[in-house]
């Protein structure tokens, strides 16, 4: 029990340590940004520090928090729907070759239609509402999750299935004990991708449908030619996405991939 706790603490420590590398990368980006700012001036590209100040000012005003919360909620709703629909449909299709063959062309069509077209359609159907944003996210995110789940089912190790069957596992327990772990390994990277696209699509849909939220704020900043405001909003949206990804999805992934960690030369913990 104690080892389980220390194990996870040491993993968190390693993660925080590796965050320095990420931070260094971000500083490099900020330096390039600063260069751009000095070359083109505040009107085209405000300085990073200026943007940070604008962002923190937005947060302190309080209104920004509500807008970020609204956008996050929409993104989360769309993402949750995409995750559930994509996973269930993908698992079913993975187990049924006939359904998989049927769904391939449908998927090609859905992926082929640009998201912007879906936004227009959704605005016509639902107006400027939560539904419009959520629907666009669902349509853009579901295929990714679906493919991840299909991949997980079809590439699973059938030898392990036979092993479980020998030891008396019926189809349901073979799924819950054997297949689900292998599906999750493919599903989680797909979910990370879908979460990222959920936030991007949410902002885009809000901007185009005038549905408020961060997208709405961006639209207002644009009409007022408030460059530092626009940059500040972008910064905030990215920050929220990073928090969502590293607070929710990455820990789940790390928990499921513990055994891979053990295979790494420096990951030996015993």
């Amino acid at each position: 029990m104690i080892r389980a706790v220390t194990d996870r603490l040491s993993r968190l420590g390693r993660f925080l340590w590796s965050a320095w590398a990420g931070l260094a990368g971000l500083c490099l980006l900020a330096a390039l940004w600063q260069l751009g700012h000095e070359a083109y001036g505040s009107f085209i590209l405000p300085a990073p520090l200026e943007t940070l100040q604008a962002a923190s000012a937005l947060i302190r005003e309080g209104e920004a928090q509500a807008l970020l919360w609204l956008t996050s909620l929409r993104a989360a709703l769309g993402f949750a729907l995409a995750a559930v629909i994509g996973t269930v449909a993908g698992v079913i299709a993975g187990y049924s070759p006939a359904i998989l063959r049927l769904s391939r062309p449908v998927l090609t069509v859905v992926i082929g239609v640009p998201p912007i077209a879906w936004i227009v359609l959704a605005i016509i159907w639902f107006g400027a509402s939560m539904m419009t944003v959520a629907l666009t996210i669902v349509i853009s995110g579901t295929p990714v999750v679906f493919m991840g789940a299909v991949e997980g089912v079809t590439t699973r190790d059938r030898g392990l299935d036979a092993m479980a069957e020998v030891f008396g596992a019926g189809p349901i327990r073979r799924f819950t004990h054997i297949a689900s772990r292998q599906i999750a390994a493919h599903l989680l990277p797909a979910l990370v991708l879908a979460l990222g696209s959920a936030f991007k699509v949410a902002v885009m849909a809000e901007l185009l449908s005038n549905a408020g939220g961060v997208g709405g704020a961006l639209a207002r900043a644009r009409s007022m030619l408030d460059i530092s405001g626009a940059m500040a909003w972008v910064l905030l949206a990215v920050a929220v996405l990073i928090v969502a990804e590293y607070a929710v999805l990455r820990p789940i992934q790390a928990e499921l991939e513990r055994w891979r960690e053990a295979a790494r030369p420096w990951g030996v913990k015993h």
Partner: protein
């Protein structure tokens, strides 16, 4: 098992297979690569439904050691060994001691139990697979060429392990191999499969008990089989790539 036949996608790989195994008896099934040995084991264990034929299982429950270890990579050795207990709804409290006992019987160290399969050597992985098969104390065991991938010394140790376990737990077993020496060391009786899977061509009873068999006698028996017995004439000369 009576009159069993099987085809994969219309290609007949087994026909007219029939044999029986008595209580406490270890029977080897030998035959060249690709002759259908694994398929027979999978049919007998109920993993594959045969095209025709009847299978009567007199045992209470079985376990199997496969050609590859087939461990779950995401679970520790202990988790892998405990898997059959979990499937048999054995309460969690009693699992730990039974896992430890099975692991020790298979020659694993207690400190190996917390490792993941990726951290183990090939031999230790196969030991884990044997421990997993022994943990439910089955009265029938299937071995599907479990030691083919191991080196000679390790193979011998594993065979001794199986002989000792069979003597201690008194299980019956179907031991599949294409190594005649291994078959003679381990079993009471040897069945020879037709190279094309067209029935069992014959059987030989090995004198004495596997646990008390001496090394020279095993070797002499092998020489006798290979030199004089027509039954074993074709055991090494089939190229599995040439099967229709």
């Amino acid at each position: 098992m009576q009159g069993v036949s099987h085809s994969y996608f219309g290609r007949k790989v087994l026909d007219g297979i029939g044999f029986s195994i008595g209580e406490g008896e270890v029977v080897s099934l030998v035959g060249p690569s690709g002759s259908g040995k694994s398929t027979i084991a999978h049919i007998a264990a109920g993993l594959i439904t045969p095209r025709s034929g009847r299978i009567t299982r007199g045992y209470r429950h079985h376990a199997m050691v496969f050609q590859e270890p087939r461990l779950m990579p995401w679970a520790t050795v202990a988790g892998n060994i405990a898997f059959p207990l979990k499937m048999a709804h054995v309460p969690r409290e009693t699992r730990v001691s039974r896992v430890l006992a099975a692991a020790l019987a298979a020659g694993l160290m207690p400190e190996d139990l917390d490792k993941y399969p990726v951290e183990l050597s090939g031999g230790m992985r196969q030991r884990s697979a044997i421990a997993r098969a022994l943990v439910t104390e089955p009265d029938f065991l299937y071995f599907d060429e479990p030691f083919t991938a191991l080196d000679v010394a390790l193979k011998r140790r594993m065979q001794d392990l199986v002989i000792a376990a069979a003597a201690a737990a008194r299980f019956s077993a179907l031991f599949i191999t294409h190594d005649l020496m291994e078959a003679i060391r381990i079993s009471h009786r040897i069945l020879v499969l037709d190279p094309m899977g067209q029935g069992i061509t014959g059987e030989r009873i090995i004198a004495g008990d596997p646990a008390t068999r001496s090394e020279p006698s095993v070797f002499a028996q092998r020489e006798a089989f290979l030199g004089e017995d027509p039954l074993f004439a074709h055991i090494h000369d089939l190229d599995e790539r040439l099967r229709p």
